[in-house]
Assembly symmetry: C2
Homo-oligomer: 231 residues x 2
DNA sequence: CTCACTTAGTGCTTATTTTCAACGAAGTTA
DNA sequence: TAACTTCGTTGAAAATAAGCACTAAGTGAG
């Protein structure tokens, strides 16, 4: 057909990622330290321009950017929101599609990226990190943390933060750490059983100096499940 | 500073809107009939290119597009999701930020737009409309209907579909029509009272050939409220 | 060898919420 | 003025959720 697009000047189009993983006591977000202007020396969410010749769609662009800048391959990726306007990037009108990624602690292997002098996990305290962030990334991170907390309340999303095999007590602990409150053990187990998204691995037990715990895994084909009410 | 943006070819950037209003028995979505290629003669969600010299941000772009193409000024606008990829528009790699708009039936006044030969409300049946839609707009509409139904379940969002003054029975009827199921009257009223987002208008009653009903209005400063559980 | 200790996993009792249905109130109309 | 309709509220029965107490199954010290 060869239809010309009406030619308006196009905004800068990019993707940014808020990638979370568990830490000792809470959870961390993956940041890079910028070494080029604008915002050189600032920490930022990993992000990059959409490449219309490389990326087939937005999600592919997000995966490529995360891989290239940090070496992380994420199993769970969810679109968060798009932030766009004339003022958020000094280089011009820009729109950035933000994604939330979750990764199991045992799958992380960072590598230095091209533009970033450094890549690091930083603890999320309250709803953000200690350092100031480049661009409007502080706002994006707040939205991402809010989305994470909110979805943890009524979905099975935290399994993506654990290794392939885990005990129910470990899973409960993830919920408690992200939500910041205690959950009753019997109520928790009832919900998990109803949701039916995990199964015991026959014979596998976590051993310690006490009663061993059954190890569970995500049932094949089960992605995120919504609870009827709340966890 | 004058920092040059690395020059990658930029995707087409636009906004699309799924605008809902109540009809006699259910609810309608606002569509335009395209008269230019691609997809000439097809019905489509109102949408348009982002104008980096006119729009300060994405939401402003969405309001402008809706106003210019249909004459509708919406009081409620919420970002839905961004759809982007190489294949969704024959003119090239495009990203479209989709919005959901809600409008009270008494505020609608359509006008013909520049590109559209026709603008019309079409009934939503199940999770879509009867006609085939241009581009990937059928998918966008399905997402929008899903978001609407889901948020109605646990927020006070339906007030935006009613005129400024309404009775509790009318409000309950909106919930029931969108969700497609009956709600218990006493439970409904308890939830509305707890949420505390509406107040009775003193002296105002809806009169009919039976007991008159108290008229309520949205409390000043109250936007969308989330219920603790579900409606 | 046994007993104290720790964490896993499961009942059970109580409190809360949901559901259903009925009833009095406040109008209109025959 | 009596019948009818919808509004608005109340209360009992059924279902769910929350709290906490108990048993199970291991380890390790004495």
């Amino acid at each position: 057909m060869n239809i010309p697009a009406e030619s308006y000047p196009r905004p800068i189009a990019s993707v940014d990622l808020a990638t979370f993983a568990l830490s000792e006591t809470g959870f961390d977000v993956l940041l890079i330290r910028r070494d080029l202007a604008p915002f050189a020396e600032y920490w930022a969410l990993p992000g990059g321009r959409i490449r219309i010749d490389e990326d087939v769609d937005l999600e592919a662009a997000a995966r490529r950017v995360l891989r290239d800048k940090t070496g992380v391959e994420t199993p769970y990726l969810e679109q968060l929101q798009t932030f766009g306007g004339a003022r958020r990037d000094p280089r011009g009108w820009s729109a950035s599609v933000a994604y939330v990624a979750l990764i199991a602690a045992d799958r992380v292997s960072l590598r230095r990226g091209a533009i970033a002098a450094d890549v690091a996990w930083r603890p999320v305290e309250g709803d953000t990190v200690a350092s100031p962030l480049a661009f409007d990334h502080a706002e994006i991170l707040r939205c991402a943390v809010a989305r994470l907390r909110n979805k943890v309340e009524y979905t099975t999303l935290p399994v993506h933060l654990l290794p392939a095999g885990f005990t129910l007590t470990e899973l409960q602990s993830v919920y408690e750490r992200i939500l910041g409150r205690r959950i009753d053990k019997s109520a928790f187990r009832k919900r998990i059983a109803e949701a039916g998204f995990v199964e015991p691995v026959p014979g596998e037990k976590r051993r310690a100096s006490n009663r061993p715990a059954q190890i569970y895994r995500l049932k094949p084909g089960c992605s995120t499940i919504f609870f009827d009410r709340t966890i």
